[in-house]
Amino acid sequence: MIKAESIDFYYGEYHALKNISMQMEPNTVTALIGPSGCGKSTFLRLFNRMNDLIEGTRLEGKCWVDGVDIYDKSVDVDELRKRVGMVFQKPTPFPKSIFENVAYGLRVNGIKDKKFIAQRVEESLRGAALWDEVKDKLKKSAYELSGGQQQRLCIARSLAISPSVLLMDEPASALDPISTSKIEELIYSLKEHYTIVIVTHNMQQASRVSDKTGFFMLGELIEYNDTKKIFLNPAMEETQNYITGRFG
């Protein structure tokens, strides 16, 4: 379970997130939608402290992951990032073999037991619905996979280190419809075990895959509710205008 409380976030002077409180439940897919630049990615990246990498940013408010205040001094960022997997817009496999890509997260965490690693790799690839397609070419370069397969590989890579949360920033926006639908299927099947948050530009996608939807605008969380409710009868005028395509 992850939670944000009264978050304000600044890029230098720019106030990117304004007083956002939001709680995402386990075994649930939460979609974040909103116009470009409204702060969805910024919000998502709070939860694995990816924003720390950008200089000149400032955070007010608190974030919890599984009950831990992740911006507390005592928190080890690398450990946090193991708990909170992340999948990016473009598939980003490492220039290694398929196997090594998935094993990467285990290795950097000091695991050396070969049998254990092989087993986790298989489990993760199965979890990402990719095992059958790659089991005969684990030693091949990850770049030999198609875009959609690469993205599932990246998901498998995250699964390998047993996160409890999966953050996805437009995971299918660079893919064709067929790969997209496979990723959506996958997300659906993964929610059984993880807290999933997905940023998407594609409202159809939000409506198809998510249980809850949060609508952001200009750094504010306008509405957060069941996806059905948002898409059938949103409470806020702004949400309605956005999802029905009546902008500005």
Partner: protein
Amino acid sequence: MERELANIKDTVNEMWRLVISQLEKAKQSFLTGDVDLGHEVMSRERRINAYELKIDSDCENYIALFAPVAVDLRLVLSLIKISNTLERIGDFANGVAIHVVKDDCIAFTKALSEELRMEELFDVLLRMLTDSFVLLQSENTQLVGRILAQDDTVDQIYDDSIEVLSNYLANHTDQTPCGLKTLLLIRKLERIGDHCSNIVEEIVFYVDAKVLKHGGKTVPLDRESKE
């Protein structure tokens, strides 16, 4: 996108006005026994059917092509149901016209019409139909109560009419067939009231996303509790 939806709504409005005018004319022809008017109503019945088909297909296209959500989706789904209902109402108006044109029982019905409060019934129905038209245009849900109240009047008149008819037929056994036909006629008018209520429910669903149907409350399904 909004243009398309507005077009559909325009078509529904046209249909609605046509249905009102059909009912109006049916009433006229019934009250004045004007057979020509009855024929006119009957000939225009097919236009109502055409409207229904057109609206149905426009709405289907609209959903297929534009994937509406939220208020747009509710509107288009409501419009489908409203046009179906309007078509039924048109059917009933047509039934009245046929009753007039067939001429075999019209004298019987007219004789009793005072006692059966036929004119009042027509007026109430026309008011309901017009009111719900206004409701859709204005989206002012305060009208809802008034319209639904009128349906009670309709039901009252209908219930009464059965008694009136029984009493009358008991004394005029030779006119039994006409009595039966008149009953069916009034029954049709009563259904118009019901249908108007349905339309109102649809509009409320569209405007507020509230489900009024079946009193909004029903026993929960087992399946639902399972899920």
